[in-house]
């Protein structure tokens, strides 16, 4: 069929099942936006390109589908960078389409020209510069395939403006031919057999899972393996929800602000089954003394992750979709009574975790952040999605919210991007309109993409926004309090901003909660009301996120109070 390049791009998106675009128009993508107009392609106009890419990211995290974002050349594309890097660090599938100046103008420092291919090279799984319309179908087919298969990730496609206007006899390819990209699904089942033997020979095994369980959709296998073995488990920030937090022996997430029980179990176990995680420095503490007594096993799809940060004793390469069902069936057919064998260790881990649970002190009438999150958690169910920004509130949310399912807890893990929360929550709500979406953010983070309040108002997107308002860049302040002699250098927020008025000015309702009594009386109604609402919760300034493993310390060297 004959059409122009812009129509071809949209035909590719339709063929890939894309039902929603996020973006912001501009000079070189006018032709593309004209076709979006004619085709009436569903599109959300955000207030800023960064909002668009985080929204596409939130959409992808909430569904597992590929999120799609469009931006114009130069500043438009440059504004995507933080969002692309965020998705790359957390292995989120995105296709990012940017316009480029026309082919003859490339390299001439033309108006709104920036080298998007060069800039996105280190922060994408793959990227393309399209200078010929004939390449459009093949490149889009490859881009979606690369983004969603194997270890997922963002793919950037930079398209020269003249390509949108060129004619093409369009046909979407059925298959992908990439000689250098083999999706490693099945591995060597001998490796799994060796792991089963290691489990049979261990006394204190611990399961440690990460975001790979979410992206591979193997949460059910993990649950069944934990049930069969009767052993304690923990997760990374990205793994929250893969196992129901009420599971017996689930010790909470591990790492810098993880639970006492989880960190102690890692340091004391004799076999650590690491599943779909990448040993981030936030999770290992001092890497040389991570899990010193344990034989470490790594279940991983990406060969480059094995022995990158932590040298492991055994590995199981391949997609978890392949390896975990085999592990599960091998364990189920084993004659050993694992539950009986491991019950002393399970009991011990649970007892240790009860010594220092996540906690907060009630003082006067003020709302403690822990109490706030626990209240939100109590008012939520398995159909509630929590999105967070980055900082203290993010850690409190991870500590006090009881997640039940994967894709329920949406947060920027690897890159730690302030400003991620509001647009990501918006994308999640658009992806899952029947679920309630609650954003937990801070008075620092929300300011970084606050323009998206107008977007949710414009599109009637129903979000419950909880601002944990402590008048300080909390995590920065915490480090300054603990390690920099209380020098609050550039971290105090003066407190003149009025989030209720901002919300109202942007077109959504706002309320303020200042006391525990307010919390009890108003939060349930606010969270259950129809339409978007911003809930400005005033909390004390000098609250620390605890426990905390200071930089360079071992996981069991936690600051507890």
């Amino acid at each position: 069929m004959n059409m122009n390049g812009a129509q071809a791009v949209l035909e590719c998106l339709k063929s890939e099942g894309v039902d929603l675009l996020f973006g912001y128009p501009g000079g070189v993508v006018l032709r593309l936006y004209d076709e979006i107009y004619k085709m009436n392609f569903p599109h959300i106009l955000t207030g800023h390109e960064q909002g668009a890419v985080h929204a596409a990211d939130g959409y992808a995290r909430a569904t597992g589908k590929v999120g799609v974002v469009i931006a114009t050349s130069g500043p438009g594309a440059a504004n995507l960078i933080t969002g692309i890097a965020t998705a790359n660090m957390d292995s989120i599938p995105l296709v990012c389409i940017t316009g480029q100046v026309a082919s003859p103008a490339i390299g001439k420092d033309s108006f709104q020209e920036v080298d998007v291919f060069g800039i996105t090279t280190p922060i994408t799984k793959h990227n393309y510069l399209v200078k010929s319309v004939e390449d459009i179908p093949r490149i889009f087919k490859e881009a979606f395939y690369i983004a969603r298969t194997g270890r997922p990730g963002p793919v950037a496609i930079d398209i020269a403006a003249d390509v949108f206007n060129s004619q093409i006899d369009f046909e979407y390819p059925r298959t992908v031919e990439l000689r250098g990209y083999k999706v490693s699904s099945d591995g060597d089942s001998k490796e799994i057999k060796a792991v089963v033997e290691a489990i049979e020979n261990s006394k204190r095994p611990l399961i440690f899972f990460g975001g790979g369980v979410t992206s591979s959709g193997t949460s059910n296998d993990i649950r069944k393996i934990i049930e069969r073995l009767g052993i304690p488990s923990t997760c990374t920030l990205m793994g929250i929800g893969c196992v129901d937090s009420s599971t017996e022996g689930f010790l909470g997430f591990a790492g810098m602000h993880g639970s006492y029980g989880a960190n102690m179990a890692i340091q004391n176990c004799d076999l650590l089954l690491c599943i779909g995680m990448r040993f981030s420095d936030r999770v290992t503490g001092r890497v040389a003394e991570f899990a010193p007594k344990a034989k470490i096993v790594h279940f991983e799809i990406d060969p480059a992750e094995v022995n990158k940060n932590v040298v492991v004793d055994m590995k199981v390469m391949g997609d978890l979709k392949w390896s975990l069902p085999i592990l599960r069936s091998k364990l189920e057919s084993s004659g050993i009574d694992f539950q009986k064998r491991f019950s002393p260790w399970l009991k011990e881990s649970i007892e240790i975790s009860r010594v220092h649970p996540f906690s907060y002190k009630i003082e006067g009438v003020s709302i403690k952040p822990g109490a706030l999150i626990r209240k939100i958690s109590d008012l939520s169910d398995e159909n509630t999605i929590i999105a967070t920004d980055v900082g203290q509130h993010q850690m409190w949310a991870a500590q006090f919210f009881s997640a039940h399912n994967p894709r329920q807890f949406i947060t920027s893990g690897g890159l730690g991007t302030m400003g991620f929360g509001l647009p990501a929550a918006m994308g999640a709500k658009l992806a899952q309109p029947k679920k309630k979406v609650i954003l937990i953010t801070g008075d620092g983070s929300i300011m970084m993409n606050i323009q998206e309040l107008a977007t949710i108002a414009d599109h009637d997107i129903d979000l419950k926004i909880v601002v944990v308002h402590n008048f300080i860049l909390g995590m920065v302040g915490q480090w300054q309090r603990l390690f920099y002699n209380h020098h609050y250098s550039q971290s105090i927020l003066k407190g003149k901003r009025d989030f209720v008025k901002i919300a109202e000015a942007m077109g959504i309702r706002g309320i303020r909660l200042e006391t525990i009594a307010d919390l009890e009386s108003q939060l349930p109604d606010a969270l259950n009301s129809d339409g978007s609402i911003l809930i400005d919760c005033i909390v004390p300034e000098e609250e620390n996120v605890l426990p905390m493993v200071p930089g360079g310390k071992r996981l069991d060297q936690m600051v507890l109070s």
């Binding site: 291919f117 060069g118 090279t121 280190p122 799984k125 793959h126 990227n127 393309y128 510069l129 690369i146 990439l178 000689r179 250098g180 990209y181 990406d302 060969p303 480059a304 094995v306 022995n307 990158k308 040298v311």
Partner: protein
């Protein structure tokens, strides 16, 4: 064999003959990787971008066409401290979508060569000595003026290093080196290894 000698001795020998690169007293082992990649625009950006982002230590890199028009061969000499670091280089490069195949030719029977051209001041007094050195190394003179000569030499990197060192006594005006390339010995090409 190294462990029979003192660390200082090894460093001295290593520095003298450039068997290894030496960085703050740590011995780095060199390997030559044959990297087959798709002959598409942007491939070199992907490869060089990865090397700089992951802070890999690269001694030389060169690229050229191959027997297949759709394939480019990149030759990378990498220096690493440990086998794990070498695995990281190989695994990270393998992850690039346009990398088809990587073979560590230092671990297979192979032939390694590099080409150098050296422009050197050669007046009446020094010309005979320089010609002597050229003959000893079986190098060639490829350009002559009344004041200079250009020497061309092909050989293993160690040989190139050696002639550069010996000619260091004279006034070298400029040096251009291609970086090492390698082929496997025997009938099996890298793409089938």
């Amino acid at each position: 064999m190294i462990k029979w000698f003192s660390h200082e001795f090894v460093l001295k020998i290593a520095n003298q003959y450039k068997f290894f690169s030496c960085k703050e007293g740590i011995i780095l082992q060199k390997y030559i990787l044959a990297v087959l990649v798709d002959n598409k625009p942007g491939v070199l950006t992907h490869v060089s971008g990865l090397i700089s982002r992951r802070a890999f230590n690269i001694e030389s890199i060169s690229a050229g066409y191959t027997e297949e028009p759709s394939v480019t061969r990149i030759n990378i000499v990498v220096s690493v401290e440990t086998e794990n670091e070498l695995d990281q280089v190989v695994n990270q490069l393998s992850k690039l979508i346009d990398v088809i195949k990587i073979v560590n030719l230092s671990k297979a029977p192979s032939i390694e060569r590099e080409l150098v051209m050296i422009k050197i001041r050669a007046d009446k007094n020094s010309r005979a000595d320089i010609l002597n050195i050229v003959n000893i190394f079986r190098a060639k003179i490829v350009d002559v003026t009344s004041e200079t000569v250009v020497i061309e030499l092909t050989g293993h990197q160690r040989k190139i290093d050696a002639i550069c060192e010996v000619l260091g006594e004279y006034e070298i005006l400029e040096i251009a080196r291609t970086g090492a390339i390698a082929l496997s010995r025997g009938s099996t090409p890298v793409k089938k290894m």
